[in-house]
Point group: C2
Chain length 315, copies 2
């Protein structure tokens, strides 16, 4: 099929683009290169079935032109800068909610009916049920990032209802793997490169998080859009396990062969809106036949190696 990948030069988007091309699909990649990297499109640009459009999702005209003639949009572009939301309060609104509606409008005017959306387990806020199912009690939002993603989800659902589209909403845990460019493994890898003797960690190290390897994430997305026939599908995507930040630190240090003194800033969360426990119930997507190939530990180690082998990403 001919499809669009927004955020095609980003971490998940570029991996997805490569996969779609390898499966024989035609891909129009859309990215403003604000955080995406043209180098991540090295393989894609060698393909005759790939077309790159440098554009911003807030440019409705350019976006609509790019979507024209495609039957599926993988909407992966986002401001994924969860931690610094309160430093630029309207960025999430623009890049996540408004940008998503712009994608929907582009689809509406070009007759494109199917969309997959990279949402986040953060929309459960401070969940009270673990693992947290898709049907958890209606949550209170605790970060601008999650609020803006929930806004995106809501508009996708309403467009599906109002305009006969089909939507696939994936609530990700944190994704790891090749082309990972921000998050705790980048932070720790940078610190340990600069000084292997000491590591500063936000929070008390006891925050419990769940992670998923990017290859497994893409396997799940492609399986679900194949199998699910519902008007709107909302699915958690993660592993059936979680780890503490301190576990992850142990694996990273072991892999890098360092034994730093670890200084914890203290408190049960790393920053305002940080969620001290994310662990999603993924039984619904598992029931469709998918399961992750890599454990959290294997995903962390693979990411550490990737960053070690690509030191330019740690600048």
């Amino acid at each position: 099929m001919r499809c669009v990948v927004t955020g095609c030069a980003g971490f998940i988007g570029s991996n997805l683009t490569d996969r779609l091309l390898s499966l024989g699909h035609d891909v129009v990649g859309y990215d403003n290169l604000s955080t995406g990297r043209i180098s991540f499109l090295h393989n894609a640009r060698a393909s005759g079935r790939f077309q790159f459009v440098e554009g911003d999702l807030l440019n409705q005209e350019r976006l609509t032109t790019a979507v024209q003639g495609s039957e599926f949009v993988f909407h992966m572009a986002a401001n994924a800068d969860v931690r610094f939301g309160t430093e630029h309060p309207t960025k999430d609104l623009h890049q996540n909610t408004i940008a998503t509606v712009n994608v929907l409008e582009a689809m509406r005017s070009s007759g494109t009916k199917r969309i997959a959306f990279a949402s986040t387990g953060s929309v459960y806020g401070e969940a009270e049920i673990f693992p947290t199912p898709e049907t958890a009690p209606f949550p209170i939002q605790t970060s601008l990032y999650a609020a803006s993603k929930l806004g995106g989800e809501a508009f996708i659902e309403a467009y599906c209802e109002g305009f006969g589209m089909q939507g696939f909403i994936f609530r990700f845990v944190s994704i790891l793997g090749e082309r990972y460019t921000h998050g705790h493994i980048v932070d720790f890898s940078k610190q340990l490169r600069d000084n292997p003797e000491i590591l500063h960690v936000l929070g008390n190290g006891k925050q419990r998080k769940s992670y998923l390897y990017v290859g497994d994430c893409i396997d799940a997305i492609l399986m679900v859009i194949e199998k699910s026939t519902a008007k709107t599908t909302v699915l958690n995507l993660g592993t059936d396990e979680y780890c503490e930040v301190s576990d992850s630190i142990g694996w990273i240090c072991e892999e890098l062969g360092v034994k730093p003194q670890v200084n914890y800033s203290g408190g049960d969360r790393g920053w305002i809106g940080d969620n001290p426990f994310i662990f999603l119930d993924c039984s619904a997507v598992r029931a469709l036949g998918w399961k992750p190939k890599l454990s959290i530990k294997e995903g962390v180690i693979r990411t550490v190696r990737y960053l070690r082998d690509n030191p330019e990403l740690l600048t």
Copy 2:
């Protein structure tokens, strides 16, 4: 206190403005008069404690100036045109979600910490639990209106978490009473004025809806902001009953002394995204000591009389 009422010339906003002034508060009313009516501010403008600012919520500068120096914002302005959402798909995004973030930004830059927000029971989509509690399972959105209101809720919650604000989110059923200017009672009153012999009704008349009288709605809002100390309070607001559209038709016709032939368009909903059953669990707000004074029937009759006595609203 000095407070801001957005949508001060609208149905609920103008009633709230009058009430706040009668309680001795200073009110800055903000309205773009797109659907609000200056005539609804007749009482307010006679007060030395009322200041009217004609402005759009998308005009951030004007809004921020208006909010300056107030300690509370009652954010009642909205595109409340639920039914025609799909005819102008981005109107809800702009007037409900983006406008709400603009209000939050105005508050942030002026140090205003408390906000009450007129949300909607429609955010429960096609609920599966009746009466529907605030902790209902995480719903799928079925209208652009509800999606945009949910976006507003989400950003308010995130601003409360991130910037130390206090938010009061009220999920209303349909509100009735003086200055009601759109909805089924206006539609039916117009039709019956033009031809008392026949009434065209969308759907099969079996849609079950809940309503609340505007005076009761305002009682609840003012009680909750007094009593609730939580960072974010989310409460349903409605009566502990519902009626069928056909019940409401009976009361309206009896009050108007007409016996029309009723033609139903058929189907279990009036339009795309219409919800065939809205009935909210209001035990949480009732537990704070509030209860509605008027039944749904009394609210409907009062609204019919008001529209009969103010025929200019039916043009």
